[in-house]
């Protein structure tokens, strides 16, 4: 195991005591792309912060290739690359220099830093921009430079924190391609996201976290077949009083796995939308149906199944 996380906890003691991580255990295998999926505030960034030596855990342990990140942070940093959530490119240096000096920080000689930088600029299609300053780059390009810089010292594990936050759809797809390319180089990738498509598309294994706890772990396919095989029909209702009795009634219908009352209306878990939808709508019309949404089996339905909440809530 290349990344071993054991019983990790992090409590922020302040006016408001916040338990960011409440005992997380995870293992990431060498060479895989591993996704940490969860809503904002689930503890993803804290987990990455601890793994990358920037946050000190309250309890538990993280080892990268056997090196304890708390006891030997400088050695651990040699093994990891980090792409943080925000653009942290050095504004005083050109794109080329950002990568070149990163290599120098990691002990490269002038010649090897130069050739590594040129190689990465070519690999990430940035050669034309080598002399541009970071402020002149779009969000997507800046993100590409950050990834190139993060892997410049040939880390064993690359951590990407919300890599597609703030990217347009086209840049996001370009970023996905770049990340998938890293796998071919044998770099293990750990990424956090709150986009289920991203976790689904990129990750070989996904850990679903919420409120500092690990809820489920497996390949996207395993998770979907275990927890999220149902289509979810969410209904917003004006009149919530009779909702429970309607739910009870719906549960008896064929094709309905379960139905529950939510703060805004009803949620129906069905084997498919086709046969059931008409009946569901009919039952709910008298409750003042004002909105309906259907979510096909996906990591989204897995998350709803596990937490009773929408990932976007």
């Amino acid at each position: 195991m290349i990344v071993e996380i054991q019983a990790l906890t992090k409590v922020y003691d302040g006016k408001l005591r916040v338990v960011a991580l409440d005992g997380i255990d995870l293992e990431v295998r060498q060479g895989e792309i591993f996704g940490l999926l969860g809503p904002n505030g689930a503890g993803k960034t804290t987990t990455i912060g601890i793994c990358t030596t920037r946050t000190l855990p309250t309890g538990g342990q993280v080892r990268i290739a056997g090196i304890d990140v708390v006891k030997q942070p400088a050695q651990a940093r040699q093994l990891i690359g980090v792409v943080p959530q925000f653009n942290t490119l050095d504004r005083s240096l050109t794109i080329y220099e950002n990568i070149y000096f990163h290599c120098r920080y990691f002990g490269f000689s002038h010649a090897s830093a130069k050739s590594r930088s040129d190689e990465l600029l070519a690999q990430f299609l940035l050669t034309e921009r080598r002399d541009a300053m970071p402020a002149q780059l779009s969000g997507g390009l800046a993100q590409r430079v950050q990834i190139a810089r993060a892997i410049a010292h040939r880390p064993t594990v690359l951590f990407l924190d919300e890599p597609s936050a703030g990217l347009d759809p086209q840049s996001r797809i370009a970023m996905w391609t770049a990340v998938q390319g890293l796998r071919k180089e044998g770099i293990t990738v750990v990424l956090t996201t709150h986009y289920m498509e991203e976790a689904d598309e990129l990750s070989e294994r996904v850990a679903i976290v919420d409120r500092g706890k690990l809820l489920a772990l497996g390949s996207p396919q395993e998770l979907k077949s275990t927890y999220g095989s149902n289509t979810i029909i969410s209904l917003k209702l004006r009149n919530l009083e009779p909702a429970e009795s309607v739910a009870a009634d719906l549960r008896l219908r064929e094709g309905v796995a379960s139905a529950e009352v939510t703060p805004e209306g009803l949620r129906v878990f069905a084997s498919g939308a086709d046969g059931v939808l008409a009946e569901v709508i009919q039952s709910c019309t008298r409750l003042g149906l004002r909105d309906i949404s259907i979510t096909e089996p996906s990591l989204e339905t897995v998350f709803i199944h596990l937490t009773g909440r929408d990932l976007r809530e």
């Binding site: 030596t53 400088a74 940093r77 040699q78 925000f86 653009n87 990163h102 120098r104 990691f106 002990g107």
Partner: protein, 277 residues
């Protein structure tokens, strides 16, 4: 796993050199602003007080007052003082101001913090690089003091070792002060710091008068002993213009060391608090 074990151990010196080269590269892009920044104040100060004023007053006792009986002109007193100011301003401009923006919205210090060296080393590099700028700034004052005043002021350095030692320690001290300010003060208050810390410690830093002359105002003479700039001024006075009365050299060196340790620790702690949560 074998590739990991055979990977070369992170070299402290190489990483430190990388950080230093990065700062040199950034400075090389801003040479003119750098010279203007460090040169403008001593230039104008010398011009007004040693070129214009003597002509207006014709050797007024006000302008000569600080030097009366100590064997030097006002220019002689001013030379080490202006070097001290140049050192200190440079330290603050080279560390405190860039740090406050790097810790701010851009967080661009992140990549350097992720170097394979202990984080205190990144802070130490900031101080060392700032010291280089302070030394250049202080040395720039010497030709100005020769060229600008109505009567040229020449440094009178007998003990080059002492001069080098004081210059390096003072420059490191200024960098440590800059680090302490930059990592403790929130970016939006950094301007305020100039008014409430930098200006007072300069004016009360025995820059424009030797410490010995404060004996007429005993309470102030003792109060300014808590001001690190006093030891920078007095240390340079002892090594550049030894003809003017100054504190004992051993006292200056001890005080410089003590302030360097205190401010250095304070600055590095502040820096670590800013980058580790």
């Amino acid at each position: 796993m074998s590739s990991i074990q055979t990977r070369q151990k992170p070299s402290f010196l190489k990483a430190f050199l990388g950080l230093y080269l990065r700062d040199l590269r950034v400075l090389s892009r801003e040479l003119l602003p750098f010279v203007l920044r460090v040169g403008m104040q001593p230039l104008l100060f010398l011009f007004v007080f040693t070129f214009i004023m003597p002509r207006m007053a014709g050797g007024s006792p006000i302008m000569m007052g600080g030097a009366a009986g100590s064997g030097g002109s006002f220019g002689t007193i001013l030379l080490p003082g202006l070097m001290a100011v140049a050192i200190m301003f440079s330290g603050i401009a080279a560390v405190a101001l860039p740090l406050s923006s790097e810790f701010g919205i851009t967080r661009e210090i992140d990549d350097r913090v992720m170097c394979p060296v202990p984080i205190w080393a990144v802070a130490l590099e900031k101080v060392c690089f700032s010291a280089l700028q302070s030394i250049v700034a202080a040395l720039l004052v010497i030709p100005m003091a020769i060229v600008i005043p109505a009567k040229a002021v020449y440094p009178d350095i007998h003990n080059w070792f002492l001069f080098a030692l004081v210059l390096v320690m003072s420059s490191l001290l200024a960098g440590a002060l800059g680090l302490a300010i930059g990592s403790v003060v929130p970016p939006k208050n950094i301007g305020l710091i100039f008014s409430i810390i930098v200006v007072p410690i300069t004016f009360l830093g025995c820059v424009y008068y030797p410490w010995a002359k404060l004996d007429q105002i005993r309470w102030l003479q003792i109060a300014v002993l808590f001001n690190p700039i006093v030891y920078i001024s007095e240390g340079l006075r002892a090594s550049v213009t030894p003809g003017v009365g100054h504190m004992p050299v051993w006292g200056i060196l001890v005080a410089l060391t003590v302030f360097l340790v205190i401010l250095g620790r304070f600055g590095i702690r502040g820096f670590m608090r800013r980058v580790i949560s």
